[in-house]
Subunit: 319 residues, 3 copies
């Protein structure tokens, strides 16, 4: 009912239509073509951002969202895709990531906005490249663009690196064990929030709520994915601080939602397949953390992208 | 004759059929859809494993083989491909590599078996992705899966890295020359064994025997490939210890067999093309050794995969 | 007129035809299927090479050019493409790069010539792989082959690394600012020369001349691309020494020519799109400088290749 009223408002008023497209863009970060989901995701970023005394993060999110959407308009992208927010979800993440890992400055914001605009070109390019395999681009445009922006930041005197681990050679965790225990509930709740790079349990609850509003099975898959990832992380002994912050859970959450209910019709068989994909995502997260360490950049959602692509391609039912 | 008896046994008895599929899986590591070749390859791993007092290596081989084959059954992979052992050869190598580079422990075996199962999904995905170019997956599923498993192992407290070179920045060999000479005969014989990560001349002879049983030209190509690779390694001055252990020869052996007789009908022209590919594989081996050093993982058979893909794609005769 | 005389000479005399093909090969480095452009580009390399007292660089260029072209003849590559110099431009760059970054020696020249020959196989392979997307190979065959050759060189005792930055972990430029100012005119003029790895303003003028002879819009795009890149480099604060040497400008020059006038019909819309691509190429240059630092190899023209592929794929007008 409310949905119908909103849709009719959006159809008549260009400003509300633009707002609608942007909210859907935020929603599409976890596959929700739904403005209310998007609003709740943005609320999660706002809560996490303000509670961490980092208002630049929500500013980056909104700026990235709007700039990437405007770029799609300028490039005359497909109207249907545009209306579903398909050109906003990478931009919002580019904005959040740049604002999180780099210190605010004029040059940093220039770099961020160029990156957000670029994410739309990358989205168009990657979508086209993957057409042959009927694969979705997922958040790969965000990952590629942000990796380039963050790597580049090291070379720019006008841009200061923020709380991002500098390039380093990895040492074996077994040889240098970390101390401390994993905080189980925060680990579970923060994973959905870390999809948006937010380290906050309340924000995680808002993200789950945003999913539930869009599609209950997605919310269930996200919660189960977070739990499965935590179990694997505990069994293999990942770093307790990172695990408690949900950093081994956010990519598995996305994998669980994507493989478990977005790109396949849910069934016991699909659930088992998605569970296996989710478990593997934890391992790939650990692998990319190691592999990217000498370059000084985080894995972002690449573990989700890689595993989901492999599992969608590898599933014969798709043929 | 014996082949016919075995085939008829396998057709009637499910246990023998399963054994047959697994032996063919071992054989397919070097393109032999032949249970006897597979048995000889497994014998090579066993000999090398036991003589090095490392029984976990043959255990890993068998576990990886069986788990990856069972995963293909569960995923209802194409029956014909399954029967030819196409879903076993990556698993056997994942098992050998994990058991070679990681210390045995419960978590390590969990990781290994998950990796072996994953190698089947990766095989299905990569084969599908490469269909457009009519390219074979080769051992890329093994390489990708094992890279991820080994990289991940650095991040897990429950998994201890074994005799694998830790992440390091490479120094120029010309500036820091190694001492010692290359042992020519071991270098030649160990190369075929190192396809299975086995550092043993007798095992190399068993591998060549396994090839000869499957296809004499393949055995000849392997032997010539090993010799050509050794000549290049000596000319350019690779590390004598690594060269003596066959580590600059195993990928070239695979390239020689693949480009020289599996995917092209042998001829003088094809032989020259395969020789050039084999020479290049030594250079790519050196390149990937350098490039992967900061990440702390070995090149595995990636030099073979990369060069063979390029040479199959680049050959106009294929059109 | 002169063109017609030359064409008729080339048609009748095999030696002149071979010279013509090789000159076109040099010309194709910046998309000029024109022997005079190629001659001017080779003149630029010669000038830069001799003024830097490094005659091995022009020797490498010519050797790489001839060997890669001969390899294409041996491999019976498509006659039309061959005649347009399509199999020479990667070889000329492989030869220049090897001679620039490695010290001359017998083993180094062996490696260089094998690399130049390999660049033709890679060109055939990459062109075929990209057919599905109607994308050109650009200089990717040069980049891939040279990366492999340079990485491999670290592992060979018989090959000494020359003036190439050894593997290192990057430190943030903001934390360790370089001293000195950017020399604006040299930065502008050297960028076109650095396409050929030449650090010389006069050579840059010859390159622009070679472009003007082939196609005036290409020369204009190159000059504007160099200026745009310099503005971005100054705004973000790249290393002044590298910027003054044109090292942040050569890939943008190529992007400007490719996106602005070679693969799209010039228009204001295309110009704006090409400008955006050119700006991004500076950022990708900085990113790859950081990302490749632990491996000890330069980015070469990969920033141009990556950005141009993305912008050609992402442009809906191409459909």
């Amino acid at each position: 009912m409310k949905g119908a009223v909103w849709a009719s408002l959006a159809a008549r008023n260009p400003a509300i239509r633009f707002l609608d497209v942007n909210l859907r863009g935020a929603g599409q970060v976890i596959f929700q073509d739904n403005p209310l989901s998007g609003a709740l995701f943005l609320a999660a970023i706002t809560v996490g951002s303000l509670r961490a005394d980092a208002p630049e993060v929500i500013a980056g999110a909104v700026a990235g969202l709007v700039v990437s959407t405007l770029t799609a308009l300028l490039l005359r992208a497909d109207r249907d895709s545009l209306g579903q927010g398909v050109f906003g979800f990478n931009g919002v993440l580019v904005g959040v990531a740049a604002a999180t890992f780099l210190e605010s400055s004029a040059a940093m914001w220039l770099l961020t906005l160029v990156g957000a605009a670029a994410s739309t070109v990358v989205m168009l390019a990657v979508s086209k490249a993957l057409e042959a395999w009927k694969l979705p681009a997922l958040t790969f445009p965000f990952v590629l663009t942000t990796w380039l922006v963050l790597l580049a930041a090291y070379a720019f005197e006008a841009v200061t690196i923020g709380p991002m681990a500098p390039p380093a050679l990895v040492e074996s965790a077994a040889a240098h064990p970390a101390t401390g225990d994993v905080d189980l509930l925060p680990a579970l709740l923060k994973a959905p929030a870390q999809v948006f790079l937010i380290d906050d349990s309340a924000a995680g609850v808002l993200v789950l709520l945003g999913l539930a509003v869009g599609a209950l099975p997605a919310a269930a898959a996200a919660a189960l994915g977070s739990a499965a990832a935590l179990a694997v992380a505990l069994a293999l002994g990942t770093d307790p601080t990172a695990t408690s912050a949900g950093l081994y859970g956010f990519s598995p959450v996305l994998t669980a939602v994507a493989v478990g209910c977005v790109f396949r019709k849910p069934s016991w068989r699909v659930a088992a397949y998605a569970l296996f994909a989710t478990v593997l995502t934890v391992i790939v997260q650990a692998a990319l953390n190691t592999g990217l360490s000498p370059a000084g950049i985080p894995a972002l959602t690449m573990p989700f992208v890689l595993v989901t692509w492999l599992f969608l391609l590898g599933d014969r039912e798709t043929e």
